[in-house]
């Protein structure tokens, strides 16, 4: 956006006035000139212009549709709106790294643990690139609530979550919209065991049982199909522009613990030792509820290039995520991914090759979550601490090679290793025969020799590829529009995983008008979430009022979708004699009840809400702001 939209105009004005003064101005008194100056050099109110940043339909059909519905609603209430469609890498770079946006529409993929509130909203992260506080939300009092939640022992967390959600509903730094269903298509005639684990995680592709049709040899190749070409272009675990759920990174890299999220919908899932053979938690009770954890690594772990994986690599990884320049850059260069998880770790120390001691500043649940960070080989990543630059020019302080490299071939320690790729077409992995899981009973193992993935342009073609037995699984979840196209048979069926994604509208609180919580509150009420779910997601989603997916384990009933109205600027609309057109949406959304019904904004109510928030309209119905 032009930072000074009124400027050119003002200059012309000034020149015109000066010309006028020169012509007949000798008679003008000094008082008159002063008054003129006062008018000429003053900015007036103008119509509010906003840009909604999002991605094109080829990347995410739902986001652009939400953005266009949002635009129509905003235009109806007198705001001028442009939609900026960016390639998906550019979208993440502009919003999460450069923070150059007004508001955006997009998904968040995470585990829906309350710790994500700390990651998304803690003030100290506001200046960092990545998913840590992309909104630039800063508040001392809110920070205290977040710290209480962050540091709270497990049993006190629900109480602290409620405190945070209470304020969050008023502040609305972003608007959670809905949780889409995560559906994939799988072939059950080639592999069994699809339901054992979540198909967005590494475990989903381990422990599958190949089926030999009629005593033929069982398949030794697992064939995936994705609709997102990015894993064929970049396999850097730290790159926020190229990762969504990080499924492939999960297979190429190991973490100390692994989440098994195949519990019920919304449950964050338990975390089991993976690269760690065992861990021991010791609560240090006292004023500060610090916890020490001693981690013992598996003895036989090594990286794909043959180097052994030691406790030093683990300690390195945790320090590296915090600052990829390892304190050598002019400014810290934190990783744009995993930063929130690592924030739970106060200190980490390698005691010997296989033993680590970590001091955890959170409770156990949040602490275990910190153990799911992929372990990077120090001998490769320690070389990647230089400031990112192009041939030594165009230097980018605060970014290092570690966050800009494609990282192909990726050297991890995971159950599958990289063989080959053809950009935007194919990715070829094969089993890492030295992987520890092959030597340990009871762990899900890479049962299939090869894991090949091809890129399909859209869900419709991905479905066709699976149905014609050219692939076994759609690794990317199906887009909701395409679900009706699936014809389930004996050998092909829809597979449902608990969703760990929520769509939201993110605001940039660093700049007007989103600096104002009053503006955000009214803005949040211009989207009919229930209607979006029907219209855009064709019913394959559920509306939510909180970023935690309205999980019963965390979110008190009053704050959930369909809960009683608790907060928000609800009160003022009642008792104004308009009872009839108060839509059904109203009762459902306790944090931001829709100003209208059945998807249509009630323009007069919305305008009144903006006026009560201190905004003015001109006679053409444009919402005015001072530029």
């Amino acid at each position: 956006m032009d930072p000074y939209p009124g400027d050119a105009e003002r200059r012309v004005d000034r020149r015109t006035v000066l010309a006028g003064l020169a012509a007949g101005g000798l008679t003008a008194t000094s008082g008159c000139v002063r008054q003129t100056r006062s008018v000429v050099n003053r900015d007036g109110a103008e119509q509010l212009s906003l840009t909604i940043t999002t991605v094109p339909s080829d990347v995410d059909r739902e986001s652009i549709r939400i953005a266009r519905i949002l635009r129509n609603n905003l235009e109806a209430v007198g705001i001028d709106v442009t939609i900026d469609m960016l390639a998906v890498e550019e979208f993440y770079r502009e919003t999460l790294v450069n923070h150059d946006f007004d508001c955006y529409v997009g998904p968040y993929h995470g585990d829906m643990d309350p710790e994500l509130l700390y990651e998304l909203l803690y003030s100290a992260f506001a200046d960092e690139p990545g998913w840590q506080n992309p909104f630039g939300f800063t508040s001392l009092t809110f920070d205290e609530l977040l710290e209480d939640l962050h540091e709270s022992p497990d049993e006190d967390r629900p109480e602290h979550v409620a405190d945070v959600l209470d304020v969050l509903a008023d502040e609305q730094p972003f608007v959670p919209l809905c949780v889409p269903e995560e559906l994939r298509l799988v072939r059950t005639d080639r592999f069994e065991g699809w339901d054992d684990h979540h198909l967005a995680t590494r475990l989903g592709y381990l422990g599958l049982e190949p089926l030999g049709p009629d005593d033929a040899d069982p398949p030794n190749e697992l064939r995936g199909v994705v609709t997102d070409p990015r894993p064929t272009e970049n396999l850097n675990p730290l790159s926020v522009e190229y990762r969504e759920r990080g499924t492939y990174v999960d297979l190429l890299y190991d973490s100390l613990g692994t989440a098994d999220n195949d519990g019920d919908e919304g449950e964050s899932g338990d975390i089991y030792p993976w690269l760690a053979e065992s861990w021991e938690w010791e609560d240090r009770t006292g004023a500060e509820s610090t916890t020490d954890v001693t981690v013992t690594l598996r003895p036989e772990a090594s990286f794909h290039d043959g180097e052994p994986l030691t406790a030093d690599d683990v300690a390195f990884t945790y320090r590296f995520v915090e600052d990829t320049s390892l304190d050598e850059g002019p400014v810290a260069a934190p990783s744009p991914r995993y930063r929130g998880k690592v924030a739970a770790v106060e200190s980490i120390e390698a005691l010997d090759d296989r033993t680590l001691e970590m001091s955890i500043e959170t409770g156990r649940q949040a602490g275990e979550r910190a153990l799911t960070v992929p372990i990077l080989p120090e001998h490769i990543w320690a070389e990647r601490t230089d400031e990112a630059s192009v041939f030594g020019f165009a230097r980018r302080p605060g970014a290092t090679d570690a966050v800009v490299l494609d990282n192909v071939p990726p050297i991890g320690s995971g159950p599958y290793q990289f063989v080959d790729r053809s950009e935007r077409e194919r990715l070829h992995l094969e089993r890492f025969d030295e992987h520890f899981s092959l030597g340990v009973d009871g762990l899900p193992q890479p049962t299939v020799e090869r894991f090949t993935t091809r890129v399909a342009p859209r869900s419709a073609s991905a479905i066709e590829i699976v149905e014609e037995n050219d692939a076994d699984v759609t690794v990317s979840p199906l887009e909701s529009y395409s679900i009706e196209m699936v014809s389930e048979t004996e050998s092909v069926r829809l597979h449902r995983s608990p969703s760990q994604t929520f769509y939201h509208v993110g605001f940039n609180l660093r700049q007007a008008p989103f600096t104002s919580p009053y503006f955000r509150q009214v803005f949040a009420r211009l989207l009919d979430k229930a209607h979006l779910v029907e219209e855009v997601f064709e019913g394959y989603a559920r509306p939510v009022a909180t970023p935690l997916g309205d999980d019963e384990a965390w979110v008190p009933e009053d704050y959930r979708w369909g809960g009683e109205t608790g907060t928000g600027s609800e009160g003022e609309d009642e008792g104004e004699g308009e009872g009839e057109d108060e839509g059904e949406g109203e009762a459902d959304d306790p944090s931001a009840p829709f100003l209208g019904s059945a998807g249509d904004v009630d323009v007069s109510r919305a305008r009144r809400a903006f006026e009560e928030a201190g905004y003015r309209y001109d006679d053409r119905g444009s919402l005015l702001v001072r530029q």
Partner: protein
């Protein structure tokens, strides 16, 4: 699946070529061509080499164009949308299954046929000038088009309005998207190269209408159909199509000026501007 689609296209287009050759070119011209093909090949060799080089370069360049565009380009999607509004929606309001089938066929098969046929037909003419002009015009289309693609980022209507503009081709025949995804990147919609090449062929058919009177009406119908199909199928904006027509005009006019100017083979030719090519075959 990609290979299957290619095979199918090859067969269908070959059948179309053979039939049209019989109707438009005639047996006598073909017989004469068999006798003279060496000299004609020699005459067109330079421009064939140029075109082949440009196409090869184009193939490589297309891989890096999006990266370049996102560094220097203008993202004009919103401006195009703001300018032309919902014209595409209006066009699609006339959608019926037979019309969709027709335009899908035209977009894939008709287009490829349209590019290949005049090359073969002009080769069957004793005067190689039309063929050299055609190949030069193709070269210019690809070159100028590539420049536009670097400078301008634009997503097509189906990327902006997925629910309104049905991606008719891809939802009706999903397998074709493998083809177009290999060939095009989705930010390359301004101008429409489908339109510009089809119109180029149409303009050339007009210029050679005395040699091939039957080809001109066919080419005219095809050129209009291809242009409309890109909009009807939600792939291009009307503005992309207009720009494509402009690109075609520029390419044909330039090639008429350029061909013969530095020609090694055609000393006698007068390097006149947009004169009509009068080629009385035999």
């Amino acid at each position: 699946m990609f290979v299957q689609v290619l095979m199918q296209i090859a067969v269908v287009v070959t059948v179309m070529l053979v039939i049209t050759m019989g109707v438009v070119v005639g047996r006598r011209r073909i017989r004469r061509t068999v006798g003279e093909y060496r000299t004609r090949l020699r005459a067109i060799a330079p421009i064939v080499v140029v075109l082949a080089t440009v196409l090869l370069f184009n193939g490589v360049a297309r891989q890096i164009v999006p990266d370049l565009s996102w560094m220097i380009g203008w993202n004009l999607t919103w401006e195009i949308y703001a300018l032309e509004g919902e014209f595409i929606l209006w066009l699609q309001s006339y959608a019926t299954p037979p019309v969709t089938a027709y335009f899908s066929f035209i977009y894939i098969y008709g287009y490829i046929f349209m590019l290949i046929f005049p090359v073969v037909a002009y080769f069957a003419l004793p005067d190689t000038r039309p063929l050299r002009e055609l190949l030069t015009a193709y070269t210019l289309n690809y070159t100028l088009g590539l420049v536009c693609y670097v400078l301008v980022i634009a997503y097509g209507p189906r990327n902006m309005m997925p629910e309104l503009v049905e991606a008719l081709l891809y939802d009706t025949y999903p397998r074709y998207q493998h083809l177009t995804r290999q060939v095009n990147r989705n930010t390359n919609v301004f101008p429409s190269l489908h339109t510009s090449l089809a119109v180029t062929v149409g303009l050339m058919a007009y210029r050679t209408r005395e040699a091939y009177p039957r080809w001109f009406p066919i080419a005219l119908v095809l050129a209009i159909s291809v242009s409309v199909s890109t909009m009807y199928l939600g792939i291009h904006w009307a503005i992309d199509v207009l720009a494509g027509v402009g690109l075609a005009y520029v390419s044909v006019a330039l090639s008429a000026r350029l061909v013969g100017r530095w020609s090694l083979a055609d000393f006698r030719s007068h390097a006149s501007g947009a004169r009509r090519i009068v080629t009385r075959g035999d």
